[in-house]
């Protein structure tokens, strides 16, 4: 680490205590802190590990078995459901990116008449709980025959995803210097050209961030898919939730199914942890 951080300073005991004693008490404190972190980490993971291990044992406590994991593929249409999750998530992420990135740029760099008020209304939508608008939404889409369709579901996800994405993109583009636009204009490029060939490549980190946030939001959603997708063609999240609690299936089959459903978001998390942290601390919303 190049610059001194808060902990460096906090720990830099000098003078009176004497270097030797300071170091040993520091090492002792470090040891205590490390052990505390270990304990918290184990306590956090314990329920997950305990339940996953149980899914490999007969009745959860008996000898090792793969019966529940085999049953997942026989008793639940997991491949179809994973495919639905992938389809809905892919379309929603693409849709949100295609409309939010240009809009964020427009609000940050291309003021037009009414831009301020429209931007403010868009941002305000971040505060609206899904449940407050979902009922008229449902009846509106039902009127035009889009309830029970992938298109309708994706539209709802896009509508809900835009406010946060536009907000994050606008703040990112705001942080880029206006001089980039001006030099483009001097070179004779139009605004559209500047956006596409100068600004867009620079915005890739922010685009990845909102893509990851939207991916997790849609893949992990229950309510929207439950209401707007056809019953026989559900996402994996809805498929599992519908089976939970009705005692048709052994609970360990459901556990195995949920582990399966968590693999794609876990991969995304491992690949993009840094982007995710950046996005969540910029404008948090889930």
């Amino acid at each position: 680490m190049v610059t001194a951080t808060l902990p460096d300073v906090l720990e830099h005991k000098g003078g009176a205590a004497g270097p030797g004693r300071a170091r040993s008490s520091l090492a002792g404190r470090h040891l205590v802190a490390s052990i505390t972190l270990l304990v918290i980490g184990v306590a956090l993971l314990y329920p997950l590990i305990d339940v996953v291990i149980a899914s490999f044992r007969t009745q959860g406590t008996g000898p090792f078995t793969l019966q529940y994991w085999r049953a997942v593929f026989q008793q639940i249409p997991v491949w179809h459901q994973l495919g639905m999750s992938a389809l809905v998530t892919g379309c929603s992420v693409a849709g949100v990116l295609v409309v939010s990135v240009p809009a964020g740029y427009a609000y940050a760099k291309l003021s037009f008449r009414g831009a301020k008020i429209v931007f403010a209304v868009t941002i305000a939508c971040m505060m609206i709980p899904v449940e407050s608008m979902i009922i008229p939404e449902y009846s509106n889409l039902a009127k035009v025959g889009l309830v029970g369709s992938v298109l309708g579901t994706v539209l709802v996800f896009i509508g809900l995803g835009i406010p946060l994405s536009v907000f994050l993109m606008a703040s990112y583009f705001n942080s880029l210097p206006d001089a980039l636009v001006e030099s483009g204009l001097v070179d004779g490029a139009g605004h559209l050209r500047i956006f596409l060939s100068v600004m867009l490549p620079l915005a890739i980190p922010a685009i990845v961030t909102i893509g990851v946030l939207e991916f997790l939001a849609v893949w992990n959603d229950l309510l929207i898919a439950l209401l707007f997708l056809p019953i026989q063609s559900q996402t994996i999240a809805v498929g599992l939730a519908a089976l939970q609690g009705n005692h048709i299936l052994n609970t360990y089959v459901l556990v195995a199914g949920s582990v399966l459903s968590a693999i794609p978001p876990m991969i995304v998390y491992m690949l993009f942890q840094r982007h995710l942290v950046a996005g969540l601390t910029m404008g948090v919303h889930r």
Partner: protein, 311 residues
């Protein structure tokens, strides 16, 4: 005379070009912003306006009769179920400080950069990638009598605590809220880590030079500077608890036993899609929105006043 005229045409040519550019900028801006604006307008703003209207009607999804404030007055004064639901939402809020306390502790230890902090951060943040469905299924199993938590408690001699956590009206809500705070632990820890990293070391160094000890610095410098991050974490958790917990409730308890784990958010779904009372659901939705706006406003006011004291 000639020179003046030439200057004038030059200037007008320049201003014509500037005007062109200006028009181009406005037109491109409008073009790029339009799709997002239309989608948000049609899919979020318009439904909210409709919900506001329908909240004054008795609406079954097809026909709506104007009934004024009766949906709201029913909410506020009548059924015991509603009172229970409001209490549950209050419990959500009251559970947050405990969760934040643990997250703050973890963030502080992590920011000391002791050995193992990187894997710890990875583990702690992991639930962010898990859905409520996955978390709900895992914890339902963990809390089932005779499994996970039972064997853990029996193992350390606490047989008396081996309860049917999700099956009893007394323990279902605490168990649900513990799971909820477990899931948000990671996000809050990361928010606090960001906060701790934002404190300028010079300030702490100066206090040390003035003779302040470890705990004094913690109490008088670190905590006040963390204030706005505590507020952010509180808001994030509250918003999630009020309007983002549907999946967890649906999977773990379906709002029961009785109404013991039904929050306002969950009741909106129940009113509309199991009872078919869309008008009441719309009123509940508007009510939820108002509560959230009010709480956000109050928390920001508290923050501002504290900051004013500080200066």
């Amino acid at each position: 005379m000639g020179r003046v005229a030439r200057a004038r045409t030059l200037r007008s040519r320049e201003s014509a070009r500037a005007e062109d550019l200006d028009r181009g900028r406005r037109r491109t801006g409008l073009l790029l912003a339009l799709p997002a604006a239309v989608l948000v307008g049609g899919l979020v703003v318009f439904p909210i306006a409709e919900a506001t209207y329908y909240s004054f009607t008795s609406w079954n999804g097809e026909t709506a009769h104007f009934v004024g404030l009766s949906s709201y007055s029913q909410l506020l004064f009548h059924t015991t179920a509603i009172r229970q639901i409001f209490q549950n939402n209050l419990s959500v809020v009251l559970s947050i400080p405990a969760g934040l306390f643990f997250a703050l502790t973890a963030a502080f230890l992590t920011s000391l950069r002791v050995p193992g902090w990187r894997p710890f951060r990875f583990v702690v943040f992991l639930p962010v990638a898990l859905s409520w469905v996955v978390i709900g299924i895992v914890f339902s199993n963990f809390l089932t009598p005779g499994q996970g938590i039972d064997s853990l408690l029996s193992g350390i001699g606490l047989h008396s605590l081996a309860l049917d956590w999700l099956g009893s009206t007394h323990t279902a809500l605490p168990a649900l809220l513990a799971t909820f705070n477990w899931a948000l632990f990671g996000i809050n820890t990361v928010i606090f880590m960001t906060g701790l990293a934002s404190i300028p070391p010079e300030v702490v160094e100066a206090a040390r030079v003035d003779g302040a000890g470890f705990f004094k610095i913690l109490r008088h410098i670190v905590m006040p500077l963390l204030g706005r991050f505590v507020r952010l974490a509180f808001l994030v958790t509250m918003i999630s608890g009020f309007s983002g917990m549907f999946g967890l409730i649906y999977v773990m308890t379906a709002g029961g036993p009785g109404f013991s784990t039904t929050t306002l958010e969950f009741q909106i779904y129940q009113s509309a899609f199991t009872l078919g009372n869309f008008g009441q659901a719309a009123a509940l939705g508007i009510f939820l929105l108002l509560i959230m706006l009010a709480v956000t406003f109050v928390i920001n006011m508290i923050g501002r006043r504290k900051a004013a004291d500080l200066w």
